[in-house]
Symmetry: C4
Subunit: 244 residues, 4 copies
């Protein structure tokens, strides 16, 4: 960790009049995601990395009511993938009692380290969950082609955009009792599927990332659209791949 | 009843600039619940207990247009479960003519007395009602397991959170012609199912509670999510329990 | 027509700072109805009668963008049911060119004269339309019982509220090429079904009324809820009447 | 091109306090369309032509966050249908780096030149896409009759409105790998179906136009409503044409 912050400097990290500041964006985007049904019941969230700092929403709170002063700030440089609640060099911890960092921290870190992502979004969208239920129990991934919205998704989450007729593949991993226990299987899936722009978690939701928050959000929307249309197609016995 | 209130003191109970004041929260949350389709057609609502006072929305009015001055205030200490319209020690009755206290008062009281809840939410969500219709007519309860959103629900509504692989059970009681006539069967179900975080009412809706309004709202959202996904699973012949 | 209005008096009829003034309410409610999907594509609307005046939204304009100055004012006293575009004693016509009174005028009038209604709402809700398509082609009415939301509906639209176990009946009439041609069949259905709180129009939508705008809106929401749950029940082969 | 613009004049073209100015409308309408699910994931958009100027949203950006200064202005007079990225007499290009004109430009031009439209809307609505999937693979068009909402649609997009009992026909063309490659097949479909008010693109979305933005928006809403009800009818085995 290259820099140390005085308490005043640390506090200043989440206060800005710029609506594009990560602490403001996290609040704004969580409100938007709540309206989409992605983060109800305190589930889901977003983390943004800017240079050497990672901004994190707190865990277990109403995501649509987060304020900038509730945001955690961590150094990106860590000796290992951080575990929630583990001792760590926090830069800024909210003063409000009872706030804990997101349980998804190590999963967000997967995106930051394995894909050099600048933002990672986690949703509990019903389209994602229903899709993992409608697909065969042993399906290793969700595959779809010949949809215009595929063109908004990037190989690996931050590479080239896919083409209309190409097959998008999103791995599906099994859920675990503790969210942090997904860390290894998510990392393994990301390594096995280097082109995957996201990871679906059966009976749980999805993790999506991108170089920037705009790229992560755009892909989260494109993927959610594809999950939704795929559910409808499966319920109408339409094949997900090909153009017939 | 330990304290008496002058008319000015009683009136002041619903006027505050604090958005977290119960009278303001009731208005704010009812607007939010309306957008979710939980309290359309004047149905449903929320009651918040703070210390020795209970704040109640009025009955039969458009829930998304309630103002703080429409809120009733009652003492929590009552010689018996209060019946709507029965003589009672009101602390504050709205000045506007034609406003009556919520018909759900005795049902909210069940949550306050049997679970020591600090807030109780009643919705007419279509997901709850459709679920009670899709389940077998004689099903005593709704049971579901292996869903991430189960982890946002607490045993008994304010105990430990459930685990992903544990079975959530919500009793279902039959509806009655008069809402207050649900009082006894709801109480009986709460006693028979001490771990239940909510009570479903067939062809009617759901009652959900928590220690605080945040806990009640979070669980109402998690449960509504689970009711919705369960309806979809039943319509696709997927089992609600287990991980197959 | 007992009173004449100077141009200034007529113009003043639609300008008020009171949000409950009919001209303001029409704009506000149309925005709300748009969000519910009831009045998209310029369809649907609302008319409010206050004492001897009737306030009408214009026809064929985006209902979510109406301003008070676009509202028509007519005298309630008319020698016959008014036809759109017919010569009539308008009190206030909007100055903006291209605005025409609602095509639904004679249908609103049915509610005002046959039920002494104070407000009438017309929606193109998909739930209403799909219901008329899912029911048998020759079904004279939609019937449902044993739903909590029935209790928000009044006999005839402004009488006693129905009970949970009672059967709500809403007549269905066939659509016509011209909206005004529905006038007679709607009136006939209202006379044949004096307890009906609304009229469904096959492949078109619904007309709902009440003594006041609050009563009309509440019933429109309860009925729309019932149309929606009925569609889901029919698609799952569940009977609409009875408690089995 | 009859007129040249100084840099200041060009810049002034997108700055106005008038909410009805094309640059403001594009931002406002894109926000509205986002809420309807028409332009998520940066897809879809709108172009408005006013006199000899065409206003265009940028490509590949979040449509609900566009600001007037992001809007492109082109002369309507072009020697040929413009290709995205091709050299062309731009009048105003946004200063912000990374903004490109909409990929839909040549498709919007089809509406401007072949139908003399004043506005063209492109959506990725799931109703449109699902409809193209539910209809037979070789269906050349979507046909529906006997729906009230048909009456909001105009022959050719800006002619006479259809009647309730008339058949609306919207051609369906196949999607292509590059959006601009749709230009010719869209133009061919518009010429083959002179009465068509829109073009559906299989597995992609829809293009709708009108003389004005109001007319285009109204028809986009009516058509989207019809796409949605048609999907429901097909899923319930109800015929789309006729009144049985």
């Amino acid at each position: 960790m290259s820099k140390t912050y005085s308490p005043e400097e640390a506090e200043a990290l989440v206060h800005s009049h710029d609506p594009e500041h990560p602490a403001n964006l996290i609040c704004d985007l969580c409100r938007e995601f709540y309206k989409l049904g992605w983060v109800t019941g305190t589930g889901g969230g977003i983390s943004i990395r800017k240079d050497e700092l990672v901004y994190l929403a707190p865990s277990g709170v109403q995501k649509e009511r987060i304020k900038p002063e509730h945001v955690f700030v961590l150094p990106f440089a860590q000796s290992s993938v951080p575990k929630p609640g583990s001792k760590r060099d926090f830069i800024r911890v909210p003063a409000k009692k009872g706030l804990n960092e997101s349980q998804c921290t190590p999963l967000f870190w997967n995106a930051f380290t394995l894909r050099e992502a600048g933002a990672c979004i986690h949703t509990h969208s019903q389209h994602a969950v229903l899709l993992t239920l409608l697909l065969p129990r042993n399906a290793p991934s969700f595959r779809i082609s010949h949809q215009e919205m595929i063109k908004g998704v990037r190989l690996g989450g931050n590479g080239k955009t896919l083409k209309f007729y190409e097959t998008l593949e999103v791995p599906i991993i099994d859920n675990t009792a503790q969210e942090e226990d997904l860390t290894e299987s998510m990392a393994a899936a990301m390594e096995k599927y280097p082109n995957a722009p996201a990871i679906l978690v059966r009976r749980h939701g999805v993790y999506v990332w991108g170089n920037t928050w705009e790229q992560a959000k755009t892909q989260a929307e494109c993927l959610d659209y594809l999950f939704e249309i795929a559910c409808k197609m499966l319920q109408n016995n339409l094949p997900l791949e090909g153009d017939e």
